[in-house]
Amino acid sequence: MEDSIPVNQKIKHQELGETGRPWEETVTTSQAPELGLSEALELEQGPETGLQPRSSPPTMPLSGARTPDRPVDDLVGLRASFPSSAFQELPSTLSPLALARQDFMAPWQSDKTTSVIPEAETPHFGHLEQLSDKGGSTLHQTCQSKGNTFHQSQQTKYPLYELRDVSDHTSKQKELRFDIFQEDDSDSNCHLDQPESGASQVAPSMLEIAIQNTKAYLLKTSSKSGLNLYDHLSEMLTKVLDKRPENAVDIIENISQDVKMEHFSKKLDTLQNENEMLPTYEMAEKQKTLFLQGNVEGADQELEDEIAEHALPNIMESAFYFEQAGVGLGTDETYRIFLALKQLTDTHPIQKCRFWGKILGLKMNYIVAEVEFREGEDEEEVEEEDVPEERDNGDSEADEDDEDELPRPFYKAPQAIPKEESRTGANKYVYFVCNEPGRPWVKLPAVTPAQIVIARKIKKFFTGRLDTPIISYPPFPGNESNYLRAQIARISAGTHVSPLGFYHFGEEEGEEEEEIESGRDSFEENPDFEGIQVIDLVESLSNWVHHVQHILPQGRCNWFNPIQKSEEEEEEEDEEKEEEKGEEPDDTEQEVGPPLLTPISEDLEIQNTSPWTTRLSSNLIPQYAIAVLRSNLWPGAYAFSNGKLSSLGHSNPLWASQAVCGKGSTCQCRRRERCGFNPWVRKIPWKRKFENFYIGWGHKYSPDSYTPPVPPPVYQEYPSGPEITEMDDPTVEEEQAFRAAQEAAANSTEENEETEEEEDEEDDYD
């Protein structure tokens, strides 16, 4: 039983009871302000007006008046149940009620979210219990949903219920209703009408906004699961209403869980296959363009031009030879790479192009093409700012005397070594990479010596994305594209070899004698190269030579002296080299590497194993076998050569390819008498007799696992002196002793002066 308990909370109720019907039909949002009002119910610690429930079913004329006008679908009727017997006196006037309502509305809009989600407890429908409570009022919001409409069901801590005549809905349905308490129908009606009408004019926009906000809140998707409450509740209630289980309220949680689980199961149709959109379809689309690029305008002239160009190498032929060696990518993939390279040469002004190899990565792989641009058409990159910053040791401040001077450190940042010019040294070729044939080619930036030096100290797998940062110790200056370029440079310098004699140095220039230090860095194909027997190539490593410049420990191919004052001085230094070395002990010694075209038999061994392994491609049929060279230092680097001359072609590739076109029936090569050219025999285009290839992870071989280098010891940065040497502060006794001593000294001087004065005075007197 309840006592007459003053209700501390003010509650407004508006019942929309059986008027739930119009809610169910439409899906459009209603704009009924009053309904919005009824939407949220908030417990306010407002004025202590007691509100009393009506004992009769609260189908008020008010509600009756309002609801038919405003079809509500996702509207909430709030039902609050009060202890029916908690009968209390009406508020003295109804104006506070009206005021309260308006007050109620305003804060309601701001707190709508909080009001809409109070603590929930299990609803007890249909209970006719009346519990007395101190606070006395229960707030019970029920949602009603049909189809797509639904609402939250909440319950406050004071579950007092009153059975309303809304039980025509199933127990699953929830309704939100407002109940407005009135003591007398008539009184309340007339009184409430006026304030309500007033309120209704004020409130509509706010109510609309309130409704929209609430609905927007309900539609908000969860960050974890991607579902939203609106849809979930509508699905759940649809399911319940379709199946109409017994005691649905007791199993509602299970139903909710089942609905959530259904999101994840795929609809398995055992009769028909669903066609998935596979990512392989996209890949195939991209590769289709590769195959279609040739059909732009099939003019005969273009065809001849294309054949005359030598930029595109014959990759299929190289792939054939490499397959003999057991190395290769498979015919289909090689052909696609072939087409991708053709696309590259068509779009860029390229003089020479070569398929360098493939570097494997964790997520994606890289296909690398080595390219040389035509003269003068080199695409200039934006120069990066590599200003060597040195600490300001020399600059002294003007106010040294006034302020405490910071100790100057010893440390001088080493001058950054500039990168080599394009087309020379490590930057002789430009490299393009792509992840798969069909994807666009990306040009790799030029490599700097610092990058090579640090790349030698770290070991990182490539991920396949060029902008991945490289986090390592020592810190690598750049991202994955720079690291890739550095590794490509190292691999090229270490493993690109050719048979002895295939290349030779050009005609001697006059200045060569003076520039012995720099070494020769240019070579040409030797037109008189006759080839070396395969057996010889396999047996002796001195028949192969490096044709890429060795990279010095500095990171460049051509030595760069970091201590350069001016050009004039440099010239003097060159001439007076010996004197200089004596004078400047800090001068670093010039680094010298093996010159170009040294045989690979000179390569250093690792762990008493030869750095190269040679094989004949086939032991069963040696007469057509090729010589295969495999690097032990860079696993994945291969080179092959078929040493013999072609029986049909010339040794010089330039002339041989012309013969294919059928242009000219006389041999144009220099060896006219000896060449054996027969215009009636079909010529086979002859490219190179050797080729280098790399396929691997891009790392050097080391017998032990990689261990990162230890950081260096702490650097002695400042000259030690009294300013920075740490000393303990003097203790109190020491300070006092010091002060006493000072005073004693001062006193003694004063006494001396005094005595002197006295003596003077005495003298004066005398």
Partner: protein, 250 residues
């Protein structure tokens, strides 16, 4: 790679760059048939190739009825004549763990390793340098065993376990769908399970005892050591193991 589908498997695994020359392929196809007949294996698999300085080893494994039983390993230098290798033991593993560097390619080659061993002579105990000879064959056996234990991978559903004990090939296994193939949890280590017993009961409740009787790949440490670099245009996914680069599963 099964001897019967060797060519197809080689083609699919070609993305890594390692392949076989035509004469090796032809000789493999021929000789593996003969091996299967002579040793009465249920299936013969081409395991792979180990590069050596002088020569390369080609390894094949024969499987009997029970799929998870220890396999017989054979090696050959020319893909024609095959020799059986002894099964691997723990002593072999400890013995050969000291040898580093590349294989020579000569099965009779002996590595020398000097060890300090305590020798008791009467009452004196002193250390003596003992030179231990390790045969390359032993090293080959233990290396193959270690590689198998670390990186042999099989998709979930390919094998199933019967209550009688033996593990059979699942004939209704058609392969994994693309979305499943990209998940590490759909693959198992092809070896006796080590971590399975350490799983909590809750985790075990979700497993299917006929299919999930091996360790899954997703609990490997370090994470990400096995990854899927590419989707072949034909739709097959190549998975490579970072721990033992050079091992590819298609």
């Amino acid at each position: 790679m099964d001897a019967e589908s060797l060519l197809l498997a080689l083609e699919l695994a070609s993305g890594s760059g390692q392949g076989l020359s035509p004469d090796r392929r032809a000789s493999l196809l021929t000789s593996l048939m003969l091996v299967k007949r002579d040793y009465r294996f249920d299936r013969v698999l081409f395991w792979g190739r180990i590069l050596g300085l002088v020569a390369d080893y080609y390894i094949a494994q024969g499987v009997s009825e029970d799929q998870l039983a220890p396999r017989k390993t054979l090696y050959s230098l020319n893909c024609m004549e095959w020799s059986l290798l002894p099964p691997a033991t723990k002593e072999m593993e400890t013995q050969t763990s000291v040898v580093k560097g590349r294989f020579m390619g000569d099965p009779s080659h002996e590595y020398e390793h000097t060890e300090l061993q305590k020798v008791n002579e009467g009452e004196k105990v002193f250390e003596e340098e003992v030179v231990v000879q390790i045969k390359e064959e032993t090293r080959l056996v233990s290396v193959i065993d270690q590689i198998d234990k670390a990186v042999a991978v099989i998709p979930r559903g390919a094998l199933f376990k019967t209550p009688f004990g033996p593990i059979n090939v699942n004939r209704t296994f058609e392969g994994l769908s693309l979305s499943e193939a990209k998940k590490l949890s759909s693959y198992f280590h092809f070896r006796e399970p080590v971590e399975l017993k350490n799983k909590t009961l809750l985790e075990k409740a979700e497993l299917d005892p006929s299919l999930d009787f091996m360790d899954s790949l997703e609990h490997d440490i370090p994470k990400g050591c096995s990854d899927f670099p590419e989707v072949h245009p034909s739709g097959s996914i190549l998975e490579d193991n970072g721990q033992c680069s050079g091992n590819f599963s298609g």
